[in-house]
Symmetry: C2
Subunit: 142 residues, 2 copies
DNA sequence: TAAAAAAGTTGCTTTTGTCAACTAATTAGG
DNA sequence: CCTAATTAGTTGACAAAAGCAACTTTTTTA
């Protein structure tokens, strides 16, 4: 790939890093950290059922994750139950508190995204989404 | 904005978070952290000349930054010289080591981006860049 | 069925980041 | 002018986030 294309991508990456930083404030006031919110989301929406799933999907240290999950459990956001089919694993699930907190977080995240595109028309917004879809299809994450 | 559009954007954001995580390994083996690499880049390419510029552009704590800059100086990557026009400020600049390390980092970052789009044709790549440009124009970062 | 591998836990350490108090230099208002 | 307020950067103390390695228990493999 030629240098100016790479340069363009890097420019976008820097730009989008800033964008993500801005929209990553949704957890403020909820008592959860960014990571914790993300864990609730991945457990609930993305159906990642075990610590190990989260470790490989999010690429975080399993020791660290173990502690964060323990803390989430202690504070009442999740439950961990030993998997009967594999007693090394624990199945993760959100509690009622976990689900309702996640809803709040999602609502706030939604608002922040809304702001991000506040000045766009319907049509422009659709074009943005197409652009995102397109990028998502083309990037090779292996 | 309606819910499914927001959902699409969030999906993209999660996706691109992962993408950025992958491409943020360029510093490995250079002895610099992600932040340090970023600082060298912004000082050198974006012409941010003082700690204060970096603080407002990157939105990091000035105390923390002060320490990181001191460490970069001690390790020989940058120089800080008191600004004659405002003796509170220090002008930042890369040393020879700083510049050459930045070059290595940029080269590796380029390779990672190349990999990201390794399977695309010229034309697809151009479309991706257009899509990125388009998004960049439309996002409202205030 | 013994050895290897996998899931998760724990102790220890390092890295990263925050906050507030402080110094020195500059700017602004009376 | 000249004093008060502001600004750039530093420092100490601390807290949060993350990484590493050794370990236990269970499962898989050869």
């Amino acid at each position: 790939m030629d240098a100016d294309k790479i340069y363009e991508v890097r420019k976008f990456n820097r730009f989008y890093t800033r964008t993500l930083q801005l929209t990553n404030k949704y957890h403020l006031g909820t008592g959860l950290t960014v990571l914790e919110s993300r864990l609730l989301l991945e457990i609930y929406e993305n159906k990642l059922q075990t610590a190990n799933d989260l470790v490989s999907f999010l690429d975080i240290d399993k020791g660290y994750l173990s502690r964060v999950l323990k803390s989430l459990e202690r504070r009442g956001y999740i439950e961990q139950t030993v998997d009967d089919l594999d007693k090394r694993s624990k199945l993760l699930g959100l509690t009622e508190l976990g689900r309702s907190t996640l809803e709040i977080i999602k609502k706030r995240a939604d608002q922040q995204i809304d702001q991000l595109f506040s000045k766009l028309s319907e049509q422009e917004m659709e074009q943005v989404i197409s652009a995102m879809d397109f990028i998502r299809q083309k990037v090779n994450l292996d």
